[in-house]
Every structure is written in structure tokens, then in C-alpha cells.
Amino acid sequence: MTPPANPVSCDVAIIGAGIVGCAIARQLTLDGLRVVVLEKALDVLDGASKGNSAILHTGFDAPPGSLEQRCMAAGYRDYFDVAAELGLPILRSGAMVLAWTEEQLAALPDLIAKAHDNGVTDVTPLTRKQIVSREPNLSDAVLGGFEIPGEYLIDPWATAHAYLLQALSNGARLMRGTEVLSGRFDQSWLLETSQGEIKAGHVVNCAGLYGDIVDQRLLGHKSFAIRPRKGQFIVFDKAASDLVSATILPVPTETTKGVVICRTIFGNVLVGPTAEEQDSRTDAATDRQTLLALKSKGVAMLPGLERCEITAAYAGLRPASEHKDYQIRHHDKQACVTVGAIRSTGLSAALGIARHVATLLGIASRPLDAPRTIRADRLSDYHRRDWQEPDHGGIVCHCELVTRREIEQVLDGPMPPATLQGLKRRTRVTMGRCQGFYCTAELAEITEERLQRTIGCDHER
């Protein structure tokens, strides 16, 4: 990538192409603003948005009256229309909060009342008998619970990609491998980046795990400190999805929702996350002891998992802070909005956050009359896939049934991946049970000289 000759100029510079940055880019572009998205990494979704539990939450358990709760409620409402417009797959799974101890059982009525306070009025208690009849594979140690019928499974990556792709197709610009180093504000912003200077009327800091650092660089101070919280997950093979239908949530504690068992829209079953406070903003390493402990937690709730094959293990980093709530601040004298500490609910809340940020910015704008729309990646195991259509050119990834046509379209598309990780998120290649045993060679050939970081080590760009 060569730096542009003249300073790039825009109405709004969005720093960070995670789920939140992508949603804000879409919102502001559709509002008629000229947007540039600056991403430090080689590809989008490389930070906190890389690994989450892929659920559209109602926000039933968010602190009532919090900004997080309001953004989640708004984001949840908007998601259905946006998903329909962009062709994003959704699957209504419902969820159950289950109590496994007397203490947890005693906590249920308050949680139900809180859900009702949050406007999630269809939350209803379940008896032990009702739970077992709906989810017969659950351990019979379950004591009681309640259901949240409105929880959905979604594709976390296709969602963010679709937001950004719609922004790009309506005139926004994406600059990857572009780290914001410093900035000067004098009527407007002049940002110094690793790819040259950028002039922007306003700046939105959605730098996620680096949110406080970017604030420091731009504003000279920070109003919160990111405390990365690692969450390890185990992905079970698709056969496990026969064991459970609803998302199984524990009774939450102060710091975490606890270990969840849920299906994914890709047909797997997830068990996780852990909640491990750490200093590192990059260390997303898994470790065997933790994974074994996670597995046994999963097996304790859903004994059938014992026999299920593990497909993958990963960790995500949540950009938590010392505060309980989101830290969204408008520094109006400096035409800057910081969107910080979007801890684990960013996927559900992103559209709501985007609206909120647009309001905070308060730029006089004229929404596009007829915005262009795009078609999102269709990777749901519960919906029709490309391999079921004619002339797909052959299946390359056998575990996830990814066709050659899908891979070629992504590589030749408007936002081609820079890394194999990026290609995985866009197509699901090598994400299946064999983790690339069969298709690595084929993929290495298809992607040679088309990725910035290639599978073979002799042709790296």
C-alpha cells in the first residue's frame, strides 16, 4: 500500500474497523457524510471483534437505565430491518438462564424483574420440568430458570463486513494498515497516520482495545483505561448441535455473563467464554488447563458434549474498562467522539451505538435518497449456501462446504482479505473440523500472491 500523495479529506474519520466502527461508518455514510475508516491492522475485525459468541442479545440483563442497555435495545430493534435489507442470516434460538444451585435459583426473580424493566417483557419463568422437556439433553442437575425467547444467532463477521461494505458502496473509504499516530485540531482535524496525513472535520475513536491510547494521542488525555478481558472458547463439531436448541446462559455475576453454551449460525456449538483480566492488548492465547476446565463445565451442563469432537479453540479480548458502562463521550470543543469500553455486547449494540454517535456528532447532513445496498456473505448452516446452487465450481473446503466461486468472489471483491484469517472470516475456509488438513494446499495455491500474508512463506508480499 503506498501512501496517498495529497492528504485524504473527509467529514468524519473513524478510527478502528471493528463491529462498532463498521456500524458507525454505515450510519454516517447513509446520513450523507464523507467517511474514511482507518484500521491499524492488515484487515478489518482484527481486534475485539475477531472472537465473540455470535449472539444477538436482547439486553435483558444489562443494567437498567445504562447507556449499554439503551444501545443494545436500539441495536437489537434495528438489526432485523438491516439484516433483511443486507441479506444477513438470523436464527431464532431463544435462550434460557438456568440455575444449578439454590443460591442461583433464589436470584432468578430479580433477574426476571430486571429483564422486564429493560423492556424485554416476554421473559418468563420456567419450571425444571419445562426446561427438561424442551432441552432433554441437559443434565438433570438443573433446578429452574427462565426463558428469553428473543435471543438470536447471527454471523458476527458477515454483519460487520456488510455494514462496512454498504458504507464503501455508498462512497466511504477504507484504509487498512493505517495507524493513527497523532492529531492536531484547529477548526478541523489533521491526523498523522502511518499512511500519510488525513484531514477530517470530525473524528470518531472506535479503537476498541486501543481506545484509551488513541484518546491520549488525539486529546492528550484519557477518561478511561482499557482493561482487556480474555475469553476463551471451545467450538464443538456440528454433530453437537443436535444436543441443544436454546442458548444456555448461567446466572450472571458482577463481572461476567459466565460460561454459555450456544449453537452458532455456522452449525457448531460454542462453550465459553472465560473472563480473565490481563494487561496485554494482544495476547489472545488459549491454554490447555482452561480449555479442559471449560469443557468440563460444558459437559456438566450438557453431558452429551463429552462424546463430541472439538473443532477449534480460540480466545477473544473484550475491551473492558474500570467502568461498568460503555464510555461514549463527545468532546465537542474538539469535534471528537470516543466510543470506548464496548465490552462484550458490541455486536448486539453496534447499530444503536451508531445512531447514538450520529446524534452526538450533530453534523447537519442530508441522508442519501437512494442508498445502494449490498448482499452479505451467506455462510449460515441453517440457510441455503452456495454449494446448493448450480455452477459453483467445486467445493474447496470440505468441512464447511465452501465453494471455489465463494472464495474467488471474496478475493476479487470490494474488500478482499489481507490474511488467511480474513479469508476465513469471509468464507469459513479451514474453520471446520479438519482445520485445513484437506484444503490448505488448494487454498495456498488459490491465494498465492493474493493475500498480504500468504500460506507459503516464500511469496510473502
Binding site: D237, F437, Y438, A444
Partner: protein, 408 residues
Amino acid sequence: MSDESCAVAVVGGGTAGLSLARELMRREVGPVVVLEREAEAGGIPRHCGHYPFGLREYNRLLKGPDYARRNRDAAARAGAEIRTSTTVTGLLPGGRLEVSGPSGPAVLAAKRVVLCTGVRESTRAQRLIGGDRPLGVVSTGALQGAVYLKGIRPFHRPVIFGSELVSFSALQTCAHLGITPLAMVEEEPRIFARRLFQPYLWLKRLPLYTGISQPRIKGAGRVEVLNFIDRHGANRTIETDGIIISGRFRPEAALLHRSHIEVDPGTGGPVVDQFGRCSDPAYFSAGNLVRPAETSGWCWFEGVAVAEHVAEDLAAAGKARTVPLFTREPRIRFIAPQRLRLVHADSSDSVIYIGLETSIDATLSARCADRVLWSAPLRGRPRRRLTVPLEPILKAAPDGPVELTLQD
């Protein structure tokens, strides 16, 4: 649109599938179609660019790719249709297959289907190897595919994780690339294929670490470091740019798990009788899918044997009583077959294949209710070939479920 049909559809064109297809054509059962999802049939030997293959099958010492070509040519010459880049996406009762080829989805109706989908190595996740997830962590299969089929080199100085026969194959692939691995690491207290490795360990001074624990991979973009605790409890760090995760074969049985066909929890493959017949009698199975994992030569002969049974079954599908063959012995990881068909056919070549959890030196007995049908001393180690003959057990005329037990 009416479905396409054939006499026998073979799912998977590896060693077992191809030898089976050839034998079926020799026996003139009618049209035989081999469905191969890769662009070329031949299976794993295709990317094992080293000796020794084909000694018993062709009386020649061949490299893997040449052996795969021979198997392919032999099946094609015999008249089997080998349909490549064609993925079977569903197994339906009675032998109907959902397939998806380059031109799209279709249905193929076969009188008999033989599942020969083989094995793959366990992944890093299945072995719970922790750490980051950088590029450069590959299975032997993926490495060999990249090297031998595409001429692509994933790293310059890898570490081999595992010490099985296939780990030796990984070593030879590295030699082909002109690189010597930095080390071989094994979590078990000793290496599996010691005799094969010994020359390497001595002559090439390949460092070997057995009994390691807490392996962790580190690296941002590509692999940078493998970290582990060695057998003496010392923390070891190897700076490397690749990890070959080798061995611990498991059946490639995803198709099976999604189907109506009964799966054996021990092998992870289909429940079969001594003829390879599955719980749906329109389906048979042969090769490594039935029990992980044997040599290509073994699979080749198994293909021939199952072809014979399929041909006989097509000629006259007799009804016969089958009884379970099972074990509750914790030291036995799996047995195959898991059903016995009580017929008076010649079973002199048939064996029970036993996979062990731990090394044993004991007496194996086959019992039916209170009656001991047969018993013999049994010695063996995990991940090594171990078989006992089926003939004497059948000769003793079991009339109910047969259990295998071990006595020290």
C-alpha cells in the same frame, strides 16, 4: 427430473475406494461410480512423495504418488467411473446420495454404497495445544499437499509434534524440502515409531523431547516459538517458524454423523459386521474409516475383500441374524467389526481389529453369555496393528451377543 443411478457408488477415491472399485468391476456387478471430492483421486498417498508403497499389491517399490496413480489407472481401466471434484453432501436411506459437483447439486441412487472416506490427523485444537493462532501450524497432510501437489513451502525450520509413522513421513517431506526440523516433540513418555526414527535421531542429531507437557504456540503473524515443559520439568523454548501436528488419526466421518447410519463410539466410524456392512444394509464401508489408521497396503486388500462381499450381496442379499460384538474392557479403545453376521460363509481371512488404550500382556476371551467361545494370549501396544482371527469364534457358533474380555 429422475435421479441418476448405478450399481455401486464408492464414496471416496483413496486406496480402499479405488481397489474396491476395480475389484467390483472385475466381478461385473454393473456400473460403479467413485465419488471423489478432490480434483484428483488417489487419496493420501498422492501427497506422500516417498517410499514404500505397493510392495504386496504390485510387487514393486513405489512412491506414494506413483502408487496412487496405479490405483487410479487400475480402477479406470477396469471400467469404474471416477468422478472427481464431486462431494457427497448427504447419505439417504437405501443408498441414495446427495452430491454436489462443480455444476451444482444432484442425487445419485445406488443399489449399494461403500463408504471409503478414510482418516485425517487430529488437529491442534483436538489435542488442546494452547497459545496463539498464527500461520504455520499444519498437519502432515496439509504440509504434504502444499509441498508435493502445489510446490508451496509453509516454513523453513519447523518442529514436528508427534512420533508416529506419519511423523516419519513428515520428516521425509522436510528432507524433500531440504530442511531439517529443529526438533521432534512427543507428549507420550516414549516415541511410537522408534526403529524408523533411530537413524535420524543418531545421524541427523534431531533433538527429541518425549514426555513433554503444556505445549504452547506463540506468534503474531507466523509461528515464532514453541514452548513446553520437558520431562524433567524444565521450561523449554524453541524458536521456530512452523509446527507440524502429526498423527492421532481419526476417521473422516462427518457425513456419517449427519446420516441415519449407526456410528461406533470406539472407532468413530460406522458400526460394521465382518463383511463391512453398515446398519443400513445398502451401505458398506472399507478402509481407514472402519478403524483408524492402517497402512495403504492394508486398506488396499480390505477394499478387495469388501468388494467381494458387496458383489455377493448384490447377487443374493440373504437375510441372516447378526449379533453385537462388544467389549467393556477399558484397556481396549475400539474393536472392529462391532457386529457379527452368523452365516456359514468362509471367514478364514476375517479378523477383529483391536485398538488399545494402554500396552497389555493378557488373555483375550470371546464369550457368549456364560460360554467361552475362544481365548488366546494377547500382547500389544497402542497405535500398533493388533488383530485376532474371527474364524474360531464363529466356528464356536455363538447364538447371542459376543463379548471380548481381558484377563491378566
